[in-house]
């Protein structure tokens, strides 16, 4: 049963995608939407059935399906094979359910776009690729999904291709992730060479029993980390994600918030046995995660574009996940991945609905006071914002963030014998990030929904959009209750789910940690209220002229740095070499031959011309003399003959 359902899970959205693509232009928008939703819906149903099947089985049970051998050759083998275990269960549930909700939302959101078939084709193809990514039991097979989601992301960011900026953003996203992919590919090559296969179980076993040298493990982990960082838009690859907001909002919600960008997190969690061996890489990961979360939060604080705030917030939240992964808190990372998918999708979709109803106005300072015009959306947004900020007890975000922070607190890196890195510092950063999260998201809430009204809102949010929103609201609020902090009542459903596959990170933690973690978001909320929320806010806009602010607004200036460091030189160099240098060199040799032949030709009619070629005035008299002596053609020829005769005689006699 599972053997049939598992391929069907992937096939269902894939088939929907193919049908939608092929029948482009012939089906109505409604039919296209229905088809896509059916495809994703089927896979959602199947994934629920499969989860139930798996969870009702033994704790370490997995579902393995080998479809067909892909590459079997001496020294290497790879298969098209899938595996469902407890990590993938979490992922497929998130992908299909959130995906389904977003698809339903998009039917209404995109109903009058002429390219709707392309949109839904790409979206369902994305779901299929994402499922391949999370289900693959072979790293090479995973790579298909890995690149597939990148391609779909490219297609969807550049969906409105009439504007060159959109396609530029799409290409930027693809190029930057592609760099990561190249690194990932190198990692795969390294592992494949060492282990002879890319089957995850084989690879991990080979790493575990010391078949792979430690340096190779470190190297491989580093390569894979780079791939994951690029996919998840972490430092130093973070710049593509804000630009990627050029795509339709459902795309941003699905791909650039809920699922694709978390692929890196999933990959590292999947390969945690490998990373455990590579301590420096883990430390690097944690530090980069911490830096990213801080930087993302700071940048989000000064943005004025609604979607960009959310994008930077995504980067920041992904930073949390990487921080957790780096500290070995695998379960916490996955837990946060799940809750983040819920509340960030909710935020994006709500923002999308708001934007649609305010005539595509994305600047938060031109919006304002919208809670009167659209109370439902306001409530949904505030729900999402609370979850993001981690308002204690009532939101999912609180529980997952709490789990991460407790994991980080306990972490301890032994880099060398002398150098160690304590998790407490990182914990501090995480806490600061939590404060900033609450600050920036409620800044957004207060500016957009409170205060005096800016733009006029028209229309109504359709039923198709509100249903997914309410579902997501519920999930954002209640999704966290399944896993309580240690000091709370013992409700640990999520850990129980993952314990067999991911090592738990239980540690003794002081009780005040939870308290601090609960107070900090509230403090952030309070400060936001003071600054922007009160009827007469302290500041409407953070003074925009200060260099620091400008710097922060551009995301730490990384875009500019990259532009000057890589893009411009690349453009210049390609412009320089747009004509093939080698071509010129070789054609030039040909020209030279022709020139030589010309001069040879001239030599036949007399040295005179050659000497003229020299163009020296002093030789003129000699020319004249030569011309007087050798002017005749026949005689000149005869002279050659005589010369040849003399040369021949000389050669022969002297020989």
């Amino acid at each position: 049963m599972g053997e049939i359902l598992l391929p069907l899970l992937i096939l269902s959205p894939l088939a929907a995608s193919l049908v939608v693509f092929v029948s482009a232009g012939r089906l109505s928008a409604c039919a296209v939407g229905t088809l896509a939703c059916t495809g994703v819906g089927m896979s959602a149903v199947i994934s629920v059935i499969l989860s139930v099947m798996l969870l009702s089985g033994p704790a370490t049970g997995t579902l393995q399906v080998m479809l067909w051998p892909w590459i079997h050759i001496a020294g290497f083998s790879a298969d098209i094979a899938f595996m469902l275990d407890r990590i993938s269960v979490v992922m497929i549930l998130v992908v299909t359910i959130v995906g389904l909700l977003i698809h339903i939302y998009a039917v209404s959101y995109m109903h009058d776009d002429p390219g709707i078939a392309r949109f839904f084709g790409s979206m369902t193809l994305f779901i299929a690729s994402m499922l391949v990514l999370v289900l693959a039991s072979d790293l090479l097979c995973l790579f298909i999904g890995w690149e597939g989601v990148g391609l779909c992301s490219y297609l969807l960011i550049g969906f409105w291709y009439d504007t060159p900026a959109n396609t530029a953003a799409a290409r930027k996203a693809f190029y930057m992730t592609r760099m990561g992919d190249a690194a990932l590919l190198c990692g795969l090559l390294l592992l494949a060479t060492a282990a002879g296969s890319l089957h995850i179980g084989t690879v991990l076993a080979a790493v575990a029993n010391g078949q792979v040298a430690l340096s190779a493990v470190n190297m491989a982990a580093l390569f894979i980390l780079i791939g994951a960082l690029a996919k998840s838009a972490q430092i130093p690859f973070q710049t593509w994600l804000p630009d990627a907001m050029a795509g339709p909002t459902p795309t941003s919600a699905l791909i650039h918030a809920a699922t694709m960008v978390t692929a890196g997190v999933y990959l590292i969690a999947r390969l945690h046995d490998l990373f455990v061996m590579a301590v420096p890489v883990m430390a690097l990961m944690a530090v980069l995660g911490a830096l990213t979360l801080l930087m993302g939060a700071c940048t989000a604080l000064v943005q004025s574009d609604l979607k960009r705030i959310l994008a930077w917030s995504t980067i920041s939240q992904l930073g949390y996940m990487f921080l957790a992964l780096g500290c070995g808190a695998w379960q916490a990372a996955l837990f946060h991945l799940m809750t983040h998918a819920f509340f960030k999708a909710l935020l994006f979709l709500t923002a999308g609905a708001v934007i649609v109803r305010t005539h595509h106005e994305q600047d938060i300072f031109r919006l304002g006071g919208l809670r009167h015009a659209m109370p439902g959306l306001a409530a949904a947004f505030i729900t999402g914002a609370s979850a993001l900020a981690g308002v204690p007890l009532v939101t999912a975000g609180f529980y997952s963030k709490e789990m991460i922070l407790s994991g980080v607190w306990a972490a301890h890196f032994r880099l060398t014998h002398e150098w160690t890195l304590s998790g407490h510092v990182l914990w501090g950063i995480g806490l600061l990030g939590a404060f900033l999260s609450a600050l920036y998201i409620f800044r957004c809430v207060f500016i957009v929904f409170f205060g005096k009204s800016g733009t006029t809102a028209t229309g109504r949010t359709s039923r198709l959009m509100t249903i997914p929103l309410s579902c997501l609201c519920v999930l954002s609020l209640c999704g966290g209750i399944i896993e309580m902090p240690m000091t709370f009542p013992p409700l640990h459903l999520f850990s129980a789910l993952l314990d067999p596959t991911l090592p738990p990170s239980h540690a003794d933690e002081p009780g005040w940690l939870v308290l601090v973690g609960a107070i900090v978001p509230l403090a952030g909320l309070g400060v936001a209220w003071v600054l922007w929320g009160r009827p007469s806010p302290i500041m409407r806009e953070i003074p925009g002229q200060a260099a620091v602010i400008r710097f922060a607004r551009t995301g730490g200036g990384m875009d500019v740095v990259y532009d000057h460091l890589f893009v411009q030189p690349f453009r210049f160099l390609t412009w320089l070499t747009r004509h093939d240098i080698l071509d010129h060199a070789i054609t030039g040799t040909g020209r030279l031959t022709q020139a030589v032949s010309t001069s040879v030709l001239r030599s036949r009619t007399g040295f005179l011309d050659i000497l003229t070629l020299g163009g020296r005035r002093g030789i003129r008299s000699a020319d004249h003399l030569l011309g007087q002596i050798h002017n005749g053609r026949v005689r000149w020829y005869a002279a050659w003959i005589v010369g040849g005769l003399c040369a021949g005689l000389a050669m022969a006699v002297l020989a």
Binding site: L601, G632, R633, R635, A638, A639
Partner: protein, 103 residues
């Protein structure tokens, strides 16, 4: 026994040959060039005569006659061509001017 040693004959012939060659190379008048050619041919013929004398062989003289015939034919044909050129309106006997074929 021969009146002229073969080497001396060859020397003389070489000198004659060189004179003819120089004539061909130096003179511009086509008639003079033909005459120089004849000198060269005769130098060759002289070698044959000397060699015939060395080996007491009549073949040398036969060759001499043949060469003489050749020289006559060449001169005849050459003069005919010069006449034809004249008839076509080329006034000069200069071999260097008015070349149409070159390059």
């Amino acid at each position: 026994m021969p009146a002229f040693p073969f080497n001396d004959t060859v020397l003389l012939a070489t000198v004659l040959f060189s004179v003819g060659l120089t004539g061909v190379l130096v003179r511009r008048n086509m008639v003079f060039m033909l005459m120089s050619l004849d000198i060269m041919l005769n130098a060759a013929a002289l070698v044959f005569v000397g060699a015939g004398a060395r080996w007491h062989d009549a073949v040398g003289q036969v060759m001499f006659l043949l060469i003489l015939a050749l020289a006559a034919v060449e001169t005849a044909v050459g003069l005919a061509i010069i006449l034809r050129l004249h008839a076509q309106g080329r006034p000069t006997l200069d071999a260097d001017t008015g070349n149409l074929l070159q390059g």
